[in-house]
């Protein structure tokens, strides 16, 4: 006999393991035992097989590998005696899981044991099958289990019923076989069998709609009777728990009732009475009673219950919510989340209590409550709720702040009705929990700020103020630094002060200080530092006096170990150093400030022109970021669309300071990336045409004197300016950005009569009259058909004012040739570089069918090379035809000569 196997008993091994003081000792003991067991296995030792397996199970529980013992289980199961089988099946369930191949080998033994004469052996086999069977085994052994369901012994029956649940879960196709036996189980008296039978029925209902119908027809009555019996039964010591007879059966019957009553008025009707009885009669001072009430409420919510019953259910939940037991409060919150779809008003009544639960000391309750609050928010209560939550943010646990912040942000984004409120709340969140704010949230905030010209000043000042106290909140610092970089001058000059603001004086160097601190703070991460560097570069042009200092700061980072920072600072340094024009820009800034004063209109108009130039120049250097189209951006952020917000934005006229108007309204220049900046400073720029450079020289040539002599700008400047302005309207000329720019500008043109473009164009219209002598010409041009397709026809008629031969007024008439109406009609046109184009808004965006109406739209074309080159135009029409988006385009080259 093996010297080891006889040695230690199970008890001794457990003792030895428990006596170990260190993990290493324990490992040593386990290793020795495993070696002994392996030896015994290889010797095929029969006497101690069950003991070895028991040891292995203990070792397995400690987390050591025991795969070598798997075959021993099978051998024990195959042996004849009950003790061997008992331990063998236990080992099988413990050491193996359904995915192991070895399991297939046990199918045969299981089959034999299911047919065994000893009921306990059958019980063991059923138990093992129910706990670990795989789909294949389920198919093979389903007939045996089904047969056992019809047996006599209640213990076998209940086990077989539960085993069937596992079989149905593994192979839903087998559900039909169990329908009949399951229904007959509900007629039993034995509670164990009843419980198992009810559970089997519940699972059948989930697996198969036929079964659901069958059980609904045959079992509803029986179920109601079972529940009636058990809830009215006198004291039964065997099943009694805290004065209630068999709460487990209660709960299971209620659950099956929920399945049967769902979306079925008849059976729901049948259940109403007993549900009302359970809901009112059950004692709620013990956990058991509450468990039943909880299940009962869920059933009432789930079925087509009467309204009175639902009120009863909601009241029970209200009682739960005010219970002092945390468990009860937890399930109440859980249930209210489901109830909110049934009766939102009733849930709203408990708002204050729920809000208190958000502040609970228990993480599970807080989480539930927060999710519930999130569902409760609507337009009416968002402000007080958001305020409560934000106030709580200050004192909440660290680990809860993440969840809380995310929820607040999404509430604020989803329900904000006004931008000021949104911006205010976001600033509060940023300064309290900026470190938990997700990137996309503060990105969205920046987009909103950049789209709200009248709040930019307020934003940058609030952020500056918040920055003084909350420097450790990373995202706050980022947003603040970005805003200071963009709107630094508003911070210093107090532009656009709102009534609610306290006055504040910030000097230019204060602003630079703030950014510098963000750059140098050791806890700032790379993104923040990089953003700070960019902000400094922008400030260097806005705040001339500080540019030397900024240069120094930037220079310090030339040696940064972080590649990104090093590269940025070197690039920025060379921009500051080599680009002399930056000084000019700032000089012009002074002019800009003059323009803001209410001077004579003429002067202001010329200032507008110069501002345009200045913008152009700046646009290539330290221009404000192009304004992102908010609707598009929000569309990209799935799930957080703000239709109200964006609609408001697109219609909001940009009426603030003139300097704002140009960059944010008209110019919308194609994003000027760093490459452009560098191209500008190097003379051999191949990509960009030399236009901006020339222009800049022109500008320098004009200098200040020109700006005072109103309106006498040379034509080269106007040309370029026109080029710049045409960017906004002619899509073909600025390839990459047109997808963004065109729709928004087209939208703008629809909603307001181009308030931004018009004054400048008017001004320009006036210019050539000074430059070129008037001509006496009043020609009549024939009307042409510019474009014709199967659906659409466009006719152009022309008009020219004699004194301005370069300018042609074209009125376009669109006719619908098809038989259905075209909606969302948008016309776009593109012209060659030497031509300037201005589109007025169209008369309508809907084109009736069969030529029953037209849209007219007027275009103003200025051909700067009039007489040398003929006019040409590309057109594009976008519209909805039978709910389909269509796009047509064409080229017009048949313009009458002389245009």
């Amino acid at each position: 006999m093996n010297p080891f196997s006889s040695g230690t008993r199970l008890r001794d091994m457990i003792r030895a393991i428990r006596a170990c003081k260190t993990a290493a000792e324990e490992r040593a003991v386990v290793r020795k035992e495993c070696a002994a067991i392996r030896a015994a296995i290889s010797e095929n030792d029969q006497d101690y097989r069950h003991r070895n397996l028991a040891k292995l199970m203990f070792i397995h529980m400690l987390g050591y590998p025991t795969h070598f013992g798997q075959m021993e289980c099978l051998k024990l199961i195959a042996s004849a005696g009950f003790p061997e089988k008992r331990i063998g099946y236990l080992g099988l369930m413990l050491l193996l899981d359904e995915r192991q191949e070895v399991l297939m080998l046990v199918t045969n033994s299981l089959k034999q044991d299911l047919n065994h004469s000893n009921q306990y052996i059958v019980g063991l086999a059923l138990c093992a099958l129910g706990n670990i069977c795989s789909a294949e085994m389920a198919r093979d052994l389903a007939p045996e289990v089904e047969r056992l369901l019809h047996g006599r012994d209640p213990n076998i029956k209940k086990k077989a019923a539960l085993c069937s649940i596992r079989i149905i879960r593994k192979v839903p196709d087998l559900a039909e076989n169990f329908m009949g036996p399951a229904a007959s189980l509900l007629k039993e008296k034995h509670h164990g069998v009843l419980i198992a039978g009810v559970q089997l029925c519940t699972d059948l209902c989930k697996a198969n709609t036929d079964a659901l119908e069958y059980l609904r027809k045959n079992c509803t009555e029986g179920l109601v009777r079972i529940l009636k019996d058990v809830s009215n039964s006198p004291y039964a010591p065997e099943y009694d728990i805290a004065g209630i007879t068999d709460p487990f059966l209660h709960i299971r019957v209620l659950r099956l009732m929920r399945m049967l009553g769902q979306e079925d008025a008849d059976s729901s009707e049948y259940m109403n009475d007993i549900l009302a009885q359970v809901a009112t009669k059950t004692e709620s001072n013990k956990n058991v009673g509450n468990a039943i009430l909880y299940e009962c409420v869920e059933t009432i919510m789930g079925i087509e219950a009467t309204s009175g019953l639902r009120v009863l259910a909601i009241n029970i939940l209200g009682r739960f919510l005010s219970n002092r037991d945390n468990n009860i409060r937890y399930v109440a919150l859980n249930m209210l989340m489901k109830a909110i779809t049934v009766d939102a008003q009733a849930v709203q009544r408990h708002r204050t209590t729920i809000l208190e639960c958000v502040k609970d000391s228990d993480a599970s309750i807080r989480k539930r409550a927060l999710e519930l609050v999130f569902l409760l928010v609507n337009d009416g209560n968002v402000k007080p709720l958001a305020k409560e939550l934000i106030d709580y943010l200050e004192v909440s646990d660290q680990e809860f702040k993440g969840d809380l912040t995310a929820k607040i942000c999404s509430i604020v984004e989803k329900f904000s009705q006004e931008k000021l409120w949104y911006i205010d709340q976001m600033f509060k969140v940023l300064s309290l929990a900026g470190n938990y704010v997700k990137d996309d949230v503060w990105h969205a905030l920046i987009v909103v700020i950049s789209n709200a010209p009248d709040l930019q000043g307020y934003s940058v000042r609030s952020l500056y103020r918040a920055l003084q106290t909350s420097y450790e909140q990373e995202s706050l610092v980022r947003v603040a630094v970005w805003c200071i970089g963009e709107y630094g001058e508003m911070l210093v000059n107090n532009v656009g002060v709102l009534e609610v603001e306290e006055p504040m004086t910030v000097t230019e160097s204060d602003a630079v200080d703030a950014v510098e601190l963000a750059l140098k703070r050791h806890s700032s991460d790379m993104t923040t530092r990089a953003m700070s560097l960019i902000a400094l570069l922008k400030l260097s042009s806005r705040f001339t006096p500080t540019s030397e200092r900024i240069k120094e700061i930037v220079t310090q980072h030339k040696g940064s170990v972080a590649l990104e920072l090093q590269q940025r600072s070197i690039e920025f340094n060379s921009i500051i150093q080599r680009h002399q024009n930056i000084k000019w820009v700032t000089d012009l800034l002074v002019v800009n400030n003059i323009a803001r004063h209410p001077l004579k209109i003429l002067v202001v108009e010329s200032m507008h022109l110069l501002l345009g130039c200045w913008c152009m120049c700046r646009s290539s250097l330290v221009e404000r970021m192009p304004v992102l189209d908010e609707a598009a951006y929000l569309g990209k952020r799935a799930g957080s669309s703000q239709p109200t917000l964006s609609a408001e934005k697109s219609s909001k006229p940009t009426t603030s300071a003139a300097s704002l108007k140009l960059p944010n309204g008209v110019a919308k220049p194609p994003a000027a990336p760093l490459v452009d900046l560098l191209d500008l400073s190097s003379d051999d720029a191949p990509v960009l045409p030399s236009a901006p450079n020339d222009f800049l020289n022109d500008l320098l040539g004009i200098g200040l004197p020109n700006s005072s002599s109103s309106g006498a700008a040379p034509s080269t400047t106007t040309d370029l300016l026109m080029d710049l302005l045409s960017i906004g309207t002619s899509p073909a000329q600025n390839g990459p950005s047109d997808s963004n720019v065109v729709p928004s500008s087209a939208k703008a043109a629809e909603s307001k009569p181009a308030p931004v473009t018009a004054p400048v164009m008017d001004l320009l219209d006036g210019l050539p009259s000074n430059a070129s002598p008037p001509r006496d010409e009043n020609l009549v041009y024939p009307t042409i058909t510019a474009f014709e397709s199967s659906t659409l026809k466009i006719a152009f008629s022309f008009e020219k004012q004699p004194e301005k031969p370069q300018v042609t007024l074209i009125s376009a008439t669109f006719t619908n040739l098809s038989s259905s109406t075209l909606t969302n009609f948008i016309f776009q046109a593109a012209v060659p570089k030497f031509v300037q184009l201005h589109l007025d808004p169209a008369s309508s965006s809907t084109l009736p069918a069969n030529g029953n109406g037209t849209i007219t739209q007027s275009l103003r074309v200025t051909n700067t090379q009039h007489g040398q080159k003929p006019l040409a135009m590309r057109v594009r029409m976008a519209y909805k035809f039978n709910d389909e988006d269509k796009l047509e385009q064409g080229q017009i080259s048949n313009f009458p000569p002389g245009l």
Partner: protein, 218 residues
């Protein structure tokens, strides 16, 4: 029934409500994430039946852990590989053991709920689907403990360590396929006693046979 004994290792279970302050390690390795994904897939696979119905096992697993984090009993009703099992145990014991007293007995974990209850030095945990009745699970745990108590006579942790297989036998009479099997304590006790006596008779027979053989070969 719940006596307090002075010796710490032999202290019987008292019903003592415990719980929370869940702090799950904030550092997660890639393996963790992959595992979580597997769990989620597994959950989806097993939960969606042929008709797209939601298909929960009522109890996914039962776990007994001591206050020191030692595993005293595990029973898996849903499929978890050995590797996943170790991971689940490690993670959950971290969450549950760190919860303070007087908090609620439910922990939300990977889309499931874990209901736990502390008896003396042992935590009884059951993992259920989010739609199940948490309060009832507390009763099932107590049901189990009462049966253990009746069987061992003032059960304590040591009983469960040295007779772990018996604890498993009892659990197998109470739960099957993750569902409750028997609501009567008396019936469970009777069934276990009958099977134990079956084992005893078999042992006696075996020893008498070996005695006979021994005498015959003398």
């Amino acid at each position: 029934m719940w006596k307090i004994s002075s010796s710490s290792s032999r202290s019987q279970f008292r019903i003592r409500r415990s719980p929370p302050t869940a702090t799950l390690g904030s550092l997660r390795c890639v393996e963790d994430i992959v595992f979580e994904k597997n769990c989620e897939q597994e959950r989806r696979r097993k939960s969606v039946g042929r008709f797209g119905f939601y298909f929960p096992t009522m109890i996914n697993f039962v776990l007994l852990i001591s206050r020191q984090g030692k595993v005293r009993l595990t029973k898996w009703y849903s499929t978890y590989s050995q590797k996943e099992r170790t991971k689940v145990i490690r993670e959950l014991s971290g969450v549950i053991l760190s919860r303070g007293p007087k908090l609620c007995n439910f922990v939300e974990w990977r889309g499931y709920k874990v209901v736990y209850r502390r008896y003396a030095s042992l935590y009884f945990c059951m993992c259920i689907d989010p739609d199940d009745n948490e309060l009832e699970i507390l009763e099932i745990i107590h049901h189990f403990v009462e049966i253990l108590d009746r069987y061992f006579g003032s059960v304590c942790e040591l009983d469960l360590i040295f007779n772990f297989h018996k604890a498993y036998y009892i659990l197998d009479e109470i739960l099957l396929a993750g569902e409750l099997q028997e609501s009567s304590k008396k019936t469970v006790a009777r069934l276990i006693a009958a099977q134990d006596s079956l084992v005893e008779t078999a042992k006696e027979q075996a020893s008498s046979i070996s005695n006979i053989i021994a005498q015959a070969t003398k």
